[in-house]
Amino acid sequence: MVTDSRTALGAGDVRPLIKLSAGSRQRSDLRPLNAPSPLRVQTDAQGRIVSIWRQGRLAPRSIVAVQDCWRIDDEWWREHAVSRMYYAIVLDDGTLLTMYHDLVTDSWFEQRS
């Protein structure tokens, strides 16, 4: 088992995703719902993800199945393009979870959709 050396980003490192129009509320007045939270992943010798460590949890959980995966590439015309590989996974305790790999920053997040 190899622990991924890419450390989780702090919550503050997630790019702001709610765009404000001019003259609208102050940024602190708008908070995104379902904002992604950082994850730590562990991979095996072949580089496959075998377990994840969610924020605020005491121990990692292993992945028993990947139910679905899809990719989102968006806003490539902007300065900060969005490129994510999403995975719908099942953990060993039966939890269904959606997570993604941010292909731009090479980091992992959990997301409620």
């Binding site: 908070r31 995104p32 719902l33 039966g94």
Partner: protein, 411 residues
Amino acid sequence: MRSAAWPDVRVACLWIAQLPLRVEILRHPAWDGRPLVLGGAPGERKVVQLCSPEAEAAGVWPGLPLREVVPLCPGAIVLQPDPVRTASVLEAVLADLQRVSPLVEPGEGDDGYFFLDLRGLQGMYGELAALEEAIRAAVPPLLRPRLGFANGKFAAAVAARLAEPGLSKSRMVPASETRAFLAPLSVRHLVLLEPEALQRMELLGVRTIGDLAALPFNAVQAQFGMPGAHAWRLAHGKDTDPIVARPVSASVQDGLRFDDPLGSIEAVMAAIDQLLAHTFSQPALLGRSVRQVRLRALLSDGTSWERLYTFKEALSTRDAARRALKSKLDLPNGLPPAPIEELALELLGLGGEAARQPGLFVARARQLAEIADAARQLRARYGRVPLYHAVEVEPWSRIPERRWALVTCDL
């Protein structure tokens, strides 16, 4: 765990075909081998829902109007659905199988499937034959269960369907033989696909699972989408679906039996009151509230009745639960269609007392004033108001966190 005594299998599937009919045979063993027909429940269409092989041999088929059953098969025994007894038999079988393997997944509804995870059991049973023996002992023989072993849930279910009824001869499909076992079988075994998709597959000349496996993955996925891709993987013996045990939910229950069956709402409510008094006095409910109530009844006409009520508000007192149940039973068709001989009440969705939710839209103006007052207190204490509205921002966005936002309340 590969050895002669323990082939390379990961899953056992136990299947009870025609479960509602077998449950009736369990109650009346003399009916075994006689033509049995299951009709619709009161209020449903009067057609055959299910029939035993003996009735089928006499020309009865599912969908046939019930009035045509007796002319075709004079000896037929026509039954009404009995969901309560069927559910209780399923529960009993599940509880017994959980003593054989700690991880047992029941199928959906009353399809009669049970999947047992065999990983790690070799140390306990030594040989697969001993495990088979334990499964056999857990299920009443009159239910005629069939047993299949394979390396995945799908192949195990197919093996169980093809096994001899009665557990005397189980069907074994080791991992290395899965693909060859499935190849000659009809694509109709791929029940994960919609009937229209199966029909289209057959129109395209794909009649067996082996035909499907021979196609390129991309072509199957393009034609049949995600389910098709899943079916293709199954056809190749790649089945990684985990066995997921049903979560255990805490509940409190009690029941009553009546010498004189109860027919009126007043009598039923008196019985419910008694059951609520007993259940709410149990230690498990102290300081807790209830979200759901399930009522099960055995009726004087030999049928059963079951209702699950989910309440908007968590109920933490016996009176509140009584009022909520009375409002449900007072509705048209709220009561069972025949007098009640046995009544069981189960309280589910147990939560803390704090989970009670007063109605948000009652006395709206007063509530807004209270919220504004609370907001002032919060502002005084924290210097800001941590109260928010959820608003749509970009509902069309493909990025989940851009669709909704929390906006500070202006109070």
